[in-house]
Chain length 327, copies 2
């Protein structure tokens, strides 16, 4: 899928030193016993430990410790792998400018996130939050709901996650347009976005966070959407200007929204996002189906084995763009 | 799709007398002006009015007034159409034994109900009720959820609704088996049901209510299901022995359930069903998407025009079976 790149491998005889930015539960790295010298760091110790690592596994993908520690003293790992699709939490300018190869967890989250988006779209169409509210009030109140089939969706983000979302929505009968950084076969460019937004029933954000996408869903873009439209974000929180979304929902400028990601995670109890009208908030879990951590660990082990053998690595991030380029 | 049947038409010159068992909002019958003598009855007046009707439109499909009024005195309409898929509310033994033709709203609800089932299945898989609960508590708590794709479903009911549900679940990657009254191509017979239930992640009831299906989901059948299974009923409430489902959910015998129909509708505030663990209750709305009443009215007008022209009627109910037979 992506152009493979081969970072340098340690000299024969020396075990590669693998440093893990730790989080509980730890990755299952049993297959690397005798093939790597594994040690663990946390956000506090990472800066001291970085110079002694050949490879860094960013297992704590909620942390921005790499971004903070990287500019420090001494040598740096030649390869950094993050157990996440997004790389915005680690990709500071120094790492971006370095020779270090960065890889991500491309492929693990695609289908789970697509199902999660389908769940949100259908729940919003069928007014499920209100049904559960009425159930709590022990009230039987019939309402009419929406069809999903026959509607129109716009998915912003053309990586494997955006494409899986588009496939799933199409399977449900939704006419779906993909929007990427540039027009190409099967993909609309940014110049089409406003026109597509103005006709969409469903707008799904599944883009990486880059300087081009930060804050792209702002008051103007929410203003272009139909009052009957719904907005879903499964990408990164800062794609959305949250104050603008809040104002839009309060004014019933769109019919509803669902955020699985927010600008500041975890969302604190005093956030106004918790009880906005028509908004579903979930805790950044769209891709995390049972067994996901094992899959992430197994994916890293596989990449490590390739790297040790001197084979090219897949899933290499274009550090100037901030994501793994596709087709 | 179904064998057409032609009920007798009034003598030339006489306008057919159409009686509507009324409910608000009334059907749009403007296209029948000058072509039918339309009058309205309610549950209290139906028995008195039945002898003067050639055709009865059961618009109040929640009422069992037809079942109660039919055995009374005098002539009876030659054709009864119900604006519903199920006919159990009107099909008493006297109507079943009569020459009167009964038609239903076959076709209107199929795809909407299939979407609703997909919404329930995905909401249960993604733990959406708990997410909304945590949102109300302003609590950010990550959980792992389930994949839908790769799972197994059993859909009981092989009419157009059951088939649409199966198509939609298959589109989401779920291996889906249909169970009907007898084994045939693409359909399992009742002899396979227990084996299929014992392996299913999702069990969906979409059968008509007949003497063969009443109470079919009982303690024994819930006992066969896996502790990780979910049960969804969009057919008729009495397919389920509700006490058995309640006991199963309380004992965590299955993981969860969703009932869009219950034995006694509307469900009263004192029902224990409202707060069973893992149960979603919705008010018999699975097929009722925006515009559904207009579709039901238009379908009846189309059937009336066929009948007036002496053409055969589709959607004719087999009154001994209690549904419109299919393939």
């Amino acid at each position: 899928m992506t152009t493979p790149v081969t970072p340098a491998v340690p000299a024969p005889g020396a075990l590669p030193r693998l440093l893990v930015l730790d989080a509980a539960p730890r990755p299952r790295l049993g297959r690397l016993i005798g093939r790597a010298e594994v040690s663990y760091a946390d956000a506090a110790t990472l800066a001291d430990r970085l110079p002694d690592a050949d490879v860094l596994l960013v297992w704590d993908f909620h942390s921005d410790a790499v971004r903070r520690a990287w500019p420090g003293e001494g040598p740096r790992p030649r390869w950094v792998h993050t157990a996440s699709a997004g790389v915005d939490h680690l990709l500071g300018p120094e790492l971006a400018a370095s020779d270090t190869v960065v890889t991500n967890a491309r492929g693990v989250f695609d289908e789970p996130i697509a199902e999660y988006v389908a769940a949100l779209v259908l729940a919003l169409a069928k007014d499920l939050p209100r049904t559960l509210e009425l159930q709590r009030e022990r009230t039987w109140r019939h309402r009419e709901t929406r069809r999903v089939a026959g509607g129109r969706a716009v998915v912003v983000g053309t990586g494997p996650i955006g494409r899986a979302i588009a496939r799933t929505l199409k399977a449900l009968g939704v006419t779906t347009a993909l929007v990427g950084r540039a027009a190409r076969s099967g993909v609309h460019g940014p110049e089409d976005l406003d026109r597509l937004l103005s006709r969409a029933d469903w707008v799904v954000a599944a883009a990486p966070l880059t300087e081009a996408t930060r804050g792209m869903f702002d008051a103007r873009r929410f203003g272009v959407m139909q009052p009957s439209a719904h907005f879903v974000n499964v990408g990164r929180g800062p794609l959305v200007v949250e104050e603008a979304l809040a104002a839009t929902l309060r004014a019933r400028g769109i019919a509803g929204a669902a955020l699985d990601v927010v600008a500041h995670e975890p969302l604190t109890a005093d956030s106004p996002l918790w009880d906005l009208p028509g908004l579903i908030v979930s805790p950044h879990m769209s891709g995390d189906t049972v067994g996901w951590r094992d899959e992430l660990g197994a994916q890293f082990v596989e990449l490590f084995e390739r790297w040790s053998a001197g084979d090219p690595l897949p899933n290499v991030v274009d550090k100037t763009r901030g994501y793994v380029p596709g087709h």
